[in-house]
Amino acid sequence: MTIPTEAPTEAPPESPAETPDSPPDNARGGVGESPQRPDATLKVTGEFAYGSDLWMDDMLWGVTLRSPHPYARIRNIDIGEALATAGVFAVLTHEDVPGNKTFGLEIADQPVLAIDTVRYQGEPVALVAADHPEIARQAAKKIKVDYDVLEPVTDARTALGHSTPDLHGELAEEVTELSREAAHLHPQGNLVRHLKVRVGDPTPSADVVVVGEYHVGMQDQAFLGPEAGLAVPDDVGGVDLYIATQWLHVDQRQICAALNLRPDQVRLSLAGVGGAFGGREDLSMHVHGCLLALHTRKPIKMVYNREESFFGHVHRHPATMRYEHGADRDGTLVYVKAEIYLDGGAYASSTPAVVGNAGTMGLGPYVVPHIHVDCYGVYTNNPPCGAMRGFGSVQAAFAYEAQMDKLAASLGMDPVELRIVNAMAEGSLAPTGQIIDSAAPVVELLERLRAMPLPPALDSSDLRHLPGGVSNTTHGEGVRRGVGYAVAYKNVAFSEGYDDYSTARVRLEVVGGAPQATVHTAAAEVGQGLVTVEQQICRTELGVDTVVVQPKDTQVGSGGSTSASRQTYVTGGAVQAACHKVRERLLALTQDYLHETLHDLRLEGGMVVSDTRGAVASIADVLGAKALEETLEWRHRKTEPIDPEKGQGFAHVQYAFAAHRAVVDVDVELGLVKVVELACTQDVGKAINPDAVVGQIQGGSTQGMGLALMEEIQISEGKIRNPSFTDYLIPTILDTPPMPIEVLEYADPHAPYGLRGVGEAPTISSGPAVMAAIRDACGLELTRVPVRPEHIIDSGDGRGSRGEPKRRQP
């Protein structure tokens, strides 16, 4: 199957032709081109070593004993029989954790190994190391844990003692869950964060008001490479950890704390990462592997199988959201009230930051004069939730875009027109009070989408074009087409005053007679192509062809997280800045070499080139035996925390905007959906690597579509019902439609090369567009994602009702 895409469009005429930092567009495989990835051949031929391929001949295998209960007190742990098993070298519990017994990205609330309580199904309780993985697994089953099983807290609203309001905002009877002592999951209570945005009139009124309540299920990152690592002890009490992760240095910090070791004693190297999407931002087997390695003095390999992986990383927060939109008769938004509950599960992970995004960007890329948002992140006994591509913005977009369609229907307006009337633009005020100070082409994204030709009408001659595919459920009967639009935005990089930086070391020297650059960062390559971007920047800035990317490790300073669409921006910025310092030194050397002062020099094709005199020297000759090396930390412009009462402040660095148009065929009798086409427009500021940009848009669009249609970790009483790829479904190629893509390049003057983060924005708007298209086809409200066949056929359970959704039962 081919996926037609359009090459990124040329920069629109309005966009500045060059930013101050614009490089000479001449290096081969430089910025703006799409050179082959350095790891491409190995990955395509299956020879790339992923974390799960790590091996040492004398290694032992570590396994994790996990809690079968979502919530229980631990009365006793008896490791005797397990430890006595032949082939077992160590059995460890929380008592063996020498340092801090809890860890966490933002709040250290999660036990390395359960202490006296387990708060989610799958929580690690004990570790076993043995000389064979099967022996380790069988030994783990011999650990006797005496549990006092407790009733789990599974609903985010009632976990806070909030009762469920009806559609008119009236509260039902008192919720008594918190009267149970055990319902208080953490000493500080069940609230992780409550974010408030208050703008304008607290009691606004409007001509037209629409209200809706929406629910988003728990999505999994579903990366294909499971959690894996190899911990190798040194002879002096330290450890080297090879690990598939998203952020080496935040791992290192947490491991050091747990092991009570210094950073120089805990050295991390990035193992091959088979996808991440947020799910590797938290620790998995990191501390466990190191503990076992230090205890046994042998290398320890740990790799989760697929089932364990579902328990071994955080997921996307499920959300329950109540929205009220008020508008004038002409469609102009007057106010939005939103109440968002994000279920963070048992431990905080990155819930505070997810709340920050959902709360501050939860109204979509629209201008809203009067705002009242309450966004809550909550502890429950459900699986812990944290980072996943789109990070809080995904959940809110399903609600606010459904509301925009609902408002358009109430007004009798075209849904795209309503969005255009209310669209943010450069100079608009965001809900945080920030002025949007670079391009915000929401109107153009929508207009370009609308102008794209629609796909041809249903061709029922080929089953593969029909809902159900070769499963042969329809030959055209019951099939209705629908079209839906959605637009969204996402903050790029870390917000709310976080000191967000990356470190780059760039070295220029002559190797084999030719100049060669070496770039060393700790920024994790997780499949997205950062290694290629690092090479491209060095080629462009230093005029060399050969760029060696050093393995990612903690021998260089932090690269920050591979998340928040930030690496090309922040690590790219660091590499560019380091290149600039190297270039300055090289040009100074050139002056010495030429014994004259020239002010119009640049580096190109291995030469130092003067604008007026052409090539004046080769880089190799200028360098000779010298090596120029620069290491620096680079920061994007500072943000600030928002105030706790009104949510105002310069919270976000940059925004990325994307829009989708989905065309679907729905078998309204069976509730089956075929996405016919998923068109996307996105502003990327500058496409550093146009092929990679399109790849990110295709992947992000598909992941967002997956959440709309099928991707859900189903939870019942705190337990995961479908921890497998048999029953946790992600779209296959036969579910993935053609994706016409138009890439805009409106430079952000604050960012390196004018670029905008790319990876997350398309994940946010694609799902809401698919939902809008399904609603258009079947005429139902559809307030829950993933939508299920039984909702589309209107089974009367409220999720697929026509008109106002039925009242949820508390």
Binding site: V470, T473, S724
Partner: protein, 291 residues
């Protein structure tokens, strides 16, 4: 765990007689998953992939003898025109890789209510061949399933083949999944017209503890077609008939709510699939296209 890999059928039967608790394995698309999840720890694995007799199929005028080791891919490629119902179901099994490994014999051995090959075997008419050192017997397909993932084969027996009737009329298969490929069925339905016997065969999947026929619906529709002389006239199928057929198919099922779907949706979808597949098959019978 012991691993036995006989290279003749005689050796395989001897091995099964000696190790009645041995778990036979062909493509491994079920067995290996179960092992991987540690759901079963059979003391012996009996690998049948090296037994040439199992990898063959043959046919006469009346039926096809399909060896237990014939893959879904081969059913599609080699028997697609002979056994259309089974081939349609085979196309919905997993991915190309799984269809290359998985077998109808393995599907019968697992006897899962969600197995894709069961409904067309039930609808089209089939007999399962069970062999042991004591001899060979055949069991009609609708007497083969004995409970959730259970069949009537004895511990000393192996499933060696399935005899599938060569169709005398159109066949259809329809399966609900929540994505458009590589999905275990939420519900499935197969239908076969047997104009020679003036019968209609049915098979229901994923909507009861075992795959099963909708006997009452079969009787109803065969009678109605007879009463209206439609077998001879090949006249239009009244919509009301198709609807009632769908409703009767629905009542034959006893589905549960599970992670893949609700019982209510399974019932609803069965009625729709039964109605639609009957209409398509009837259209074929009339000689038109089944659009």
């Amino acid at each position: 765990m012991e691993f036995l890999a006989p290279t003749t059928l005689a050796d395989a039967l001897a091995a099964k007689a000696e190790h009645p608790d041995a778990m036979p394995i062909l493509g491994g698309t079920d067995v290996m998953v179960e092992l991987n999840f540690d759901r079963h720890r059979p003391p012996v694995l009996l690998d049948l992939t090296r037994v040439p007799e199992l990898a063959e199929w043959s046919r006469d005028d009346r039926r096809v003898r399909l060896g237990a080791g014939v893959s879904y891919t081969r059913v599609i490629d080699e028997l697609g025109h002979v056994l259309p119902g089974l081939a349609m179901a085979s196309r919905t099994v997993g991915s190309p890789q799984i269809r290359n490994r998985g077998t109808v014999g393995g599907n019968l051995g697992a006897a899962s209510p969600a197995g894709d090959s069961h409904p067309p075997l039930l609808a089209g008419g089939a007999e399962v061949e069970l062999a042991s050192l004591a001899g060979t017997r055949t069991v009609p397909i609708d007497e083969f399933y004995a409970g959730v993932k259970k069949h009537v084969g004895r511990p000393d027996e192996l499933i060696t083949a399935v005899y599938v009737d060569v169709p005398t009329g159109p066949q259809q298969f329809s399966k609900i999944g929540t994505r458009n490929a590589m999905v275990i069925s939420v519900s499935a339905f197969s239908l076969a017209l047997h104009p020679d016997r003036r019968r209609v065969g049915t098979g229901i999947g994923s909507a009861a503890p075992t795959p099963r026929r909708a006997a009452d619906a079969e009787t109803f529709i065969a009678g109605a077609l007879d009463d209206d002389g439609l077998w001879e006239s090949k006249g239009a199928l009244p919509d009301a008939l198709a609807r009632e057929f769908g409703e009767r198919v629905q009542t034959a099922a006893s589905p549960i709510d599970d992670v893949r779907g609700t019982a209510a949706y399974r019932l609803h979808s069965l009625a729709v699939m039964a109605r639609r597949t009957l209409a398509w098959a009837w259209s074929d019978y009339q000689g038109g296209t089944n659009a």
